[in-house]
Amino acid sequence: MEGQLKKRIFKDRLFKYLVILFAFISILPLLLILYYITRNGIAVINWEFLTELPKPFGEAGGGIFNAIIGTFFLIVLSSVLSIPFGISAGIYLSEKSEGKIAHMVRLCVVVLQGTPSIVIGIVVYMWFVVPFKGFSALSGGIALSVMMLPVIIKTTEETLKLMPYTLKEASLALGVPYYKTILKVILPTGLSGILTGILLSVARITGETAPLLFTAFGNQFMNYNIFKPMDSLPYRIFYYAMSPYPEWHSFAWGASFILVAVVLGFNLIARGIAIKWKVQF
């Protein structure tokens, strides 16, 4: 009896320690990744790396300025394309939440979110690269905006659903038309939630490479024309990482450091907005 009890207590302890051990082993890769990126990345980053164009192999130096600018262009393009649609579709879902169309749209949002990014790359290639006979930053922006939409729609819908009904009633009772109630009362109140969603979706697409392979492609020269191929940080990392040259590998680490800093920065700002501007009812 006594031995039985001891055995049970021992098992209980053992299990707890195992759970703790496994849980902490799983964040070991994260620490390692961050360590590698910082150690290998910081070493290459200097002013030249940030402000100069890539040099052909054999010449020392050079930087990733075009990739930084390209990523910025792609973020702006995809945001401009997806934010208006995303927010208004989110409003639709929260307003007509029980309708047949709403259910269907919701299902489509889920499916779209789960669609592999490479598939979106192929489809946008068929839509915009084949007819216009060339890779372009615009098609890359479109591919990324398709990936942003589900996140924006979902967060907008969920934020607006949390708005108390009394808020809307109060506005309508004052004789404010419905569309103005939504645009001037409900939306501003939920702004922090929507902004969080947008930032999270931007963070998600900033690091996407697969949809850019056949759309924005890459470009070792400077390019401000959105109808031409454009470079991006993730593409440059991929290109350098797969090359056989150690010098380019260290460039890949430098670009990774910047990319991770940007992505985590977006995530942090999003989290900050969510906490600081949280509307309480």
Partner: protein
Amino acid sequence: MKSNIDRSEKVFQGVLAFSAIIIVVLLLAVFLTLAVASLPSVKVFGLKFFFGTTWDVSAEKFGALPFLVGTLLTSFLSLLISIPFSISISIFLGEYFKEGPVSTFLRSSIEVLAGIPSVIYGLWGLFLLVPLVRSLENIFGVTPHGVGILASALILAIMIIPFSASIGREVVTLVPSDLKEAAYSLGATRFEVIKNIILPYARSGIFAGILLALGRAIGETMAVTMLIGNSNFLPTGIFSPANTMASVIANEFAEATGITASSLIYIGLVLFLVTTIVNIIGIYVIRKISLTASKEVT
């Protein structure tokens, strides 16, 4: 004045409905584009596409079995590796340490892990996992490629842990406390409560989390493309280089024309359908759980 408001009202409603319907149209268009563009390949190879083992661009002979096997091996292997970890995290955050600095630290670390771009996982894998796998291969006495199914499965496992863990944590927290208390009052240890009450109760939710992680693993492209070794032959074991459905598209689509492109899009169509089905089942299970949970609360 009045009619002006009415008109704005109508326009507003129209814009909302339009942007909602555009999502449906977008998804249909994605499916149709894939279906139409893969048609030439579907006509030539039909269902035999899935059993053919040769992928020869110059002979225009295409069979996707190596990629199907590659995808199945990498994704299930990665699930197998990730499950003990994601369940541990779920129990850790949902039962042992629900709040406090340790739990906040672990939770935010997992979130950061989910946010790291896949190309960076690939880069890191190339410089840390590949040498690791290579030394493992030397020990086992197989050709030391380094890159291959095992390396890809390892990186995938790391990448999907956050997905199954976050859903697992939620369902573990949803287990009603009266059930747990009843078990404690009968003298059960915490381990027995977890084993006999929490895990059976949260079973379907954990399963759904694993399904969603599977969907993610199947569709993951960049990290796998960088680590799998780009070989179009049927993999012979977990150490052999291979290609998954996603990675073969990433590797070959940019240069492909004609029937080759069409065959790659055929693979893309299959990829799209498989991930869609896996995701829908996962979401359905989760929705069912949250419905029953909300009923029990009220």
